[in-house]
């Protein structure tokens, strides 16, 4: 966890001030929640599905090195090639080299968060290779020169007016009608699919026993990217592997309902190696790039390793009050929201604020929604503890010292009481210094009567209102 220049606080404040973006975000999140209610909440056996999927994810962590070796052997036996990459730059280099060695000029890409993590598009651009994102949301983001704001719906923050303006400017096609704009994207991307020299996709699940790469999508762009070009490169982070097809089925029981509220997406594809003897299409070469980027270190950490159970469904983002308020970009890292606040600071390369674990209210809605059984707040708490142990500013240290001693705290509170009710106003005028920033960043509670004296009345009011103040 290294210090970084990115300031989540500033970015969040800016996002909160943007009314238009907040309205688009609120509408999108509301929509996702309805979908989830109709699927997960309507599935009588969801609890049982979840138990089985959690068992599979835990088995993956317990046997990770063996599973990866089996996966490598199976992919190789099926005519594919496996490449291990230590970190983001070496993964990007590996793929770039595979493509330049084969004189590839045009690449079609299926949506992949790991591809964002390794900065693949930038690396390919530097190598003079045209890489086209083919998921509609990612395509919009790429045309706009932005970054995804949600791990599943990357353009969730973009309004249809903005898409319309973008298509007019970049593709020279005018339309404000959403189905027509979708058709414009289809026409434009179809030419790319048919002409591409290679397709790069992510991987939702890899099956060790069979060497199968499983991908889920609704649009069909991943299926085209992996089927039409002569080369298919699949990119996965190493924890996506499971043992058998039965294990994959257990994960598939929970992934689409938690992600998009579907029982199955339109396209569920299982790719095993390259095209076989006698087949006329499918890639002649299939490569699987397996990325570590800090994950093996996370596995060695007994208190934090459970984040590797994550299946990237996005359910935690959709229920998080912080994510819903500030949106995905404010986090400044590849992975936003609760899962991102745990994962991003632990990865070797994932730009953002190292203090991302503090962007959390501990409401635990994420843990309740997580189908993989991850307790995000507990993990974030541990990360906060470590960050504090690394050192913090003078004011926080002073507060911590006070809080540890009851009589010193009571004395300090008495002083603060004498300054109330103007405390927040006074604190707001504090000079720009470490202590000043500590004071200005906080809203102080009413202190004129000690909490111990207010408690009885408060408890009475709570019981009258059924536990709500």
């Amino acid at each position: 966890m290294s210090a970084s220049k990115y300031d989540f606080g500033k970015a969040a404040a800016k996002a909160l001030g943007d009314r238009e973006s907040r309205a688009v975000l609120a509408k999108a999140i509301g929509h996702i929640r309805v979908l989830r209610r109709r699927s997960v909440d309507a599935m009588p056996d969801f609890a049982e599905r979840r138990t089985r999927a959690v068992a599979v994810r835990e088995a993956t962590l317990a046997r990770l090195p063996d599973l990866l070796e089996t996966l490598e052997a199976s992919v190789t036996a099926a005519g594919g090639m496996v490449h291990f990459a230590e970190d983001a730059p070496s993964a990007a280099r590996c793929i770039t080299r595979l493509l330049t060695d084969r004189d590839v000029k045009l690449v079609v890409k299926g949506k992949s968060m790991v591809s964002e993590e390794i900065g693949l598009n930038e690396a390919l651009e530097r190598a003079g290779i045209e890489a086209v994102e083919t998921d509609l949301g990612e395509y919009i983001i790429q045309l706009a020169g932005e970054k995804p704001s949600h791990i599943l719906a990357p353009a969730l923050h973009v309004s249809k007016e903005q898409v319309s303006e973008l298509f007019d400017r970049k593709l020279g096609r005018k339309s404000t009608d959403i189905p027509e704009m979708t058709r414009i994207a289809r026409d434009s991307l179809r030419r790319k699919f048919l002409a591409a020299d290679a397709g790069v996709t992510g991987c939702n699940i890899a099956v060790a026993a069979t060497g199968t790469v499983i991908v889920l999508e609704n649009e069909g762009n991943i299926r085209l990217s992996a089927s039409c070009p002569p080369i298919h490169i699949a990119l996965m982070s190493l924890e996506k592997v499971v043992g058998t097809l039965a294990d994959a089925a257990a994960v598939l029981d929970i992934l689409p309902p938690s992600a998009t509220g579907q029982t199955l997406p339109v396209h569920l594809s299982l790719f095993t190696g390259a095209r076989r003897e006698g087949e006329r299409d499918g890639p002649r070469e299939m490569h699987l790039v397996i990325l570590d980027n800090g994950r093996s270190k996370i596995l060695a950490d007994p208190l934090l390793r459970s984040i590797l159970k994550c299946i990237r469904c996005g359910a935690c983002l959709n229920v998080c009050p912080v994510y819903q308020s500030v949106g995905g970009h404010a986090y400044g890292s590849v992975y936003p929201g609760p899962m991102g606040s745990v994962l991003s600071p632990l990865l070797t390369d994932a730009a953002g604020d190292a203090r991302q674990p503090f962007a959390c209210t501990h409401c635990a809605a994420c843990a309740a929604a997580c189908p993989a059984g991850i307790d995000h707040p507990a993990l974030l708490q541990e990360m906060r503890r470590r960050l504090s142990a690394e050192g913090t500013d003078a004011a926080t240290r002073a507060f911590a010292a006070l809080a540890r001693s009851p009589w010193m705290f009571a004395g300090a509170a008495a002083v603060a009481r004498s300054a109330d009710p103007g405390l927040t106003r006074v604190a707001g005028m504090a000079p720009d210094s470490p202590v000043g920033r500590f004071l200005r960043g906080r809203v102080f509670p009413g202190l004129s009567r000690p909490f111990s004296r207010r408690f009885k009345a408060l408890a009475r009011r709570l019981s009258r209102h059924g536990g709500r103040s």
Binding site: R52, E86, L224, P230, L238, G243, S269, L270
Partner: protein
């Protein structure tokens, strides 16, 4: 470089899994409801109808031939590409369509790069390995004479589904798949491709075929 990364990553993972706190691998997780549940055309057609494709049931080879000719006419099909598949032969699909004036492309006539050659073809006609009733899914397995592009690039995909190929659901499919060598590609297609990427407005027909028509073969 790759070999060094491989051994470094695997040895770190080995050290990590040898450490304390990881749960011991539990007994293998079996399939949810393997192989049970309903598998009939009523269930399949009802789910399929909610996903975009159209469906008609043929009770004889003669009815299936009529259905094929009707479909080609309805969608103004001039050219079609087909799979080499016993279920197509069972209804004489290639010659029936050719007889109705459709220019048929056989697998062996396809050029080296299949997908670009199909860009202007109107229809792809295939069989299926299985079909799943709970989710209205067509299971397409690639192989010689069963090109991936046939069901993917033309604007219309027509699939022939005999009753004997109906399975209840995904666990039943994975059960079957586990018992045989995996084909290079297995596509489980549930409906017509769709997106909600612009303001969550649901649009059908993004990248795959814009229309999917399924003809059930009740006697097979």
């Amino acid at each position: 470089m790759n070999a060094r990364a491989r051994s470094a990553i695997l040895s770190r993972l080995r050290a990590a899994t040898a450490g304390p706190g990881l749960p011991r691998p539990s007994a293998p997780v079996g399939l949810r409801r393997p192989g049970r549940g309903v598998a009939d055309f009523e269930t399949f057609a009802a789910v399929l109808a909610t996903l975009g494709p159209t469906f008609e049931l043929a009770r004889s080879a003669e009815e299936a031939r009529t259905a094929l000719i009707g479909t080609a006419a309805r969608h103004e099909v001039k050219t079609a590409v087909r799979w080499e598949h016993p279920d197509l032969d069972a209804v004489d699909a290639p010659s029936v369509l050719a007889g109705a004036g459709v220019a048929m492309i056989a697998p062996e006539e396809l050029p080296d790069r299949v997908c670009p050659s199909l860009a202007a073809v109107d229809m792809g006609i295939t069989g299926v390995a299985y079909a799943l009733c709970a989710t209205g899914s067509l299971i397409l397995a690639a192989g010689p004479g069963r090109e991936r592009g046939t069901a993917l690039v033309p604007r219309l995909h027509v699939a022939l589904v005999p009753r004997s190929r109906l399975l209840p659901d995904l666990p039943a499919l994975f059960d079957r798949l586990a018992g045989q060598p995996m084909p290079s590609a297995v596509n489980c297609v549930s409906g017509v491709s769709s997106t909600g990427d612009i303001e969550f407005v649901y649009v059908r027909g993004v990248h795959g075929p814009l229309a999917v028509h399924v003809i059930g073969l009740d006697w097979l």
